[in-house]
Symmetry: C2
Subunit: 496 residues, 2 copies
Amino acid sequence: MSADDPRAALRERLRELDDLQHASRVLGWDQQVAMPAAGTAARGRAGGTVERLAHERLTDPELGSLLDAAEAAGEDPGVIRAVRRDHERARRVPGELVAEIAQAAADAQPVWQKARETSDFALFAPALKRNLELRRRVAACFPEAAHPYDALLDQFEPEMTTAEVRSVFDRLQAGLRPLIAAIAGKPLPDPLGGVYPVDAQRTLSLEIGRTIGFDDESWRLDVSTHPFSQKVGPGDVRVTTRYDEADPLSGLLSTLHEVGHGLYEFQVDPALAGTTADTGTSLGIHESQSRLWENQVGRSRAFWAHWYPRAQELFGDALAGVDLDAFLRAVNVVRPSLIRVEADEVTYAMHIVLRFELEVAMLEGSLEVDDLPAAWNARMSELLGVDVPDDAHGVLQDIHWSFGELGYFPTYALGSIISAQLWEAAGAAIPDLEGAISRGDAAPLRAWLGENVHRHGRTRTTDEILRATTGGPLDPDPLVRYLTTKFGALYGLVPS
Amino acid sequence: MSADDPRAALRERLRELDDLQHASRVLGWDQQVAMPAAGTAARGRAGGTVERLAHERLTDPELGSLLDAAEAAGEDPGVIRAVRRDHERARRVPGELVAEIAQAAADAQPVWQKARETSDFALFAPALKRNLELRRRVAACFPEAAHPYDALLDQFEPEMTTAEVRSVFDRLQAGLRPLIAAIAGKPLPDPLGGVYPVDAQRTLSLEIGRTIGFDDESWRLDVSTHPFSQKVGPGDVRVTTRYDEADPLSGLLSTLHEVGHGLYEFQVDPALAGTTADTGTSLGIHESQSRLWENQVGRSRAFWAHWYPRAQELFGDALAGVDLDAFLRAVNVVRPSLIRVEADEVTYAMHIVLRFELEVAMLEGSLEVDDLPAAWNARMSELLGVDVPDDAHGVLQDIHWSFGELGYFPTYALGSIISAQLWEAAGAAIPDLEGAISRGDAAPLRAWLGENVHRHGRTRTTDEILRATTGGPLDPDPLVRYLTTKFGALYGLVPS
């Protein structure tokens, strides 16, 4: 490739954009993990400037011309498609609208917090109406979309449609409601007691992270209020978790979840470095990677067959009287409940189905904001059989709508669905996957995911990855099968 | 100030520059403190891009016009002067020369390392000649300078001249050589024995840092290979240190040193935030702040009268049999030696005088690079009475010349000189300063430094600060007096 090859010119452009995004990622990680609190104002300003400079480069018309020229010259079509999508999307939504959205979100934050504290939805309703209006204007920037919600969903799930999600979610909830109803009457296992020192939890988290796939030259593990994972750049993956000394499970499962996210980006083909296409292709695929390691692996008997003796060694007395069966019941407790972030593997997706339905209805205008709490409470009763006592434990519980973030929630459940599809495919492709996991050997699964999902970065869409690995499209049946089989056995249910 | 006021336009420009420098500072801190090793290549690229974007803004001719217009409109002349100096300096040195210097430094690094390992100066000589040639070209960009070295010194000590430094260093070495000779024959104190756990060292470092001036909303203390201090932005000061479990002094004195640097920038007037003038005005003044807290305060009887009981409490057995007098002798051991970074308070400046003389001679051409080792060894013998066994322990010991960094070394000794001048001035202005320190009360000294040095940021030069606080220019006599008095008493020397 010569210096005046349009592919080289494109790569040089993308490298500068990627460098600015690299700086943004470090500023973000630092803010959540390291920055002293009094640095907040200056950080907000500096982060905003770096993002603006990156946005200028992304929307530059010359980038559009370079994409065309580089495509004609044979540049990787997956890279061209991913970057062109970013470029066109960024150009479609006017900068003033982006600024209005940011301002509305900043204004709505304290209002939502106050409303949640006092469980007063009426206080939050005007801000939500404003956010909704702004998102309708975003959707209107994409008049070719079949449904206005498609334009919002597309930010997080490129090329997925509202109709597809609706159909899949309908099948999912129909499939899971009998299981949830059957489990609801069963007694809960004893909770784990004792004290689990942070140092021991960190040691176990590090050992598990290293076994799953990181070398210590390439990652670090820290604590943050809200655990997250961030690849800063090639060879630099940051994972955070949190530790509760009264409960070892929340920290360990959080670590597994974030390690799953981190491993995804860590294993992207190094040839994509600097193209901005070396990250996750969609939030659904991203979430499938975290859920797979957290749930299919991290809540399995095979996994703990290997790791439970080590946990007992590290935690000493606290787990001395708890056998593996009792521990596994504690790891897999199921209880229909009010709060999404506390939900278990079986009921979690119902919280998402609810939010998706309500978001679509509000955006369409078929549900008025003022009627939202009543709709929420009625549907919670249908989906999970729980009564919502107040809006703080209902419609006001999540921060997302205070940012006006619509289209994001579905990706959580898409992650669960996809994780089960990939898990079935991996199980069929890898001889004795369960045996490997029960020996503490994550290499076969890591290699399979690397080859079939991770290395492609953003050059393949969700649908392309699913068709290549499972032979078909997004499909909720593997998740229903997996949950029904696993929890049927754990809860001693009679197969229907 | 209206929106079309040129002062507002200048501030907006400077804010963007400051935001990019903020990002650079975070990238730098992260690289030294947090980044996994495998992230190095990507970080180098991203850091380079952010620095290039900042440099483009600094050299923009429109910035020059804005400085003129804002000055006419009444902008703070200290801010105008500091920014104009940056702007003009950056425009004077061509970008290609800057790139050549960076490349030569990168090429010279491994050569210098190899040369030091094998104590083979001849191996390093060609790289040093190349670096010297490039610095002569930098100096030639400033033809109005009275001496070519002035142009290099000016990067670190704005408006200070080679002639002034030479005269002050001549007086300093004449003043200190009798003291060094008198101490050289005296027996050394017993070294401290025992083990000093890192946790206890960190606890003491944090307590001292908080007492000197930081609140935990505004700083953090970490470990790095080479301790440093960095204000990222207002309310966000990062200090690093290192701990040696066999020696509590190196870590504690390193913490005091870096806290001194950090406190300086922490106390800059918040009104200067975002102007790029809210940092240290020169490396000499910066180093005076670190040395003052490390030496005049941190190696004093008054300081340890308060802190030694706490140290004994934290370190338990290790210090149980060591009384305050013995501990103070260990803190203040003096021994002429070969290595600059291991030198004590009395002999340190001689290492710098040596380097300054040799740098000036090489730049002038009165000393050939090939003759440098012989000149080094002869002058070490005169200044410190030590024989240099090989070049690894002599001319090859420091990294600076491998970067081609000339003009930097003098600032270390300027820091010592200025710290003694400010210490005398503070002692005269603050009633019972020693009493306050012996009660663990750093507030009077912190307030005096804040008012007279720190708050001005870069709006006052070294000379202006010295004249305002001491009534005169840079002067080595206070340092000679301070060292002669203190070490005369410690070593039982007869006053001459």
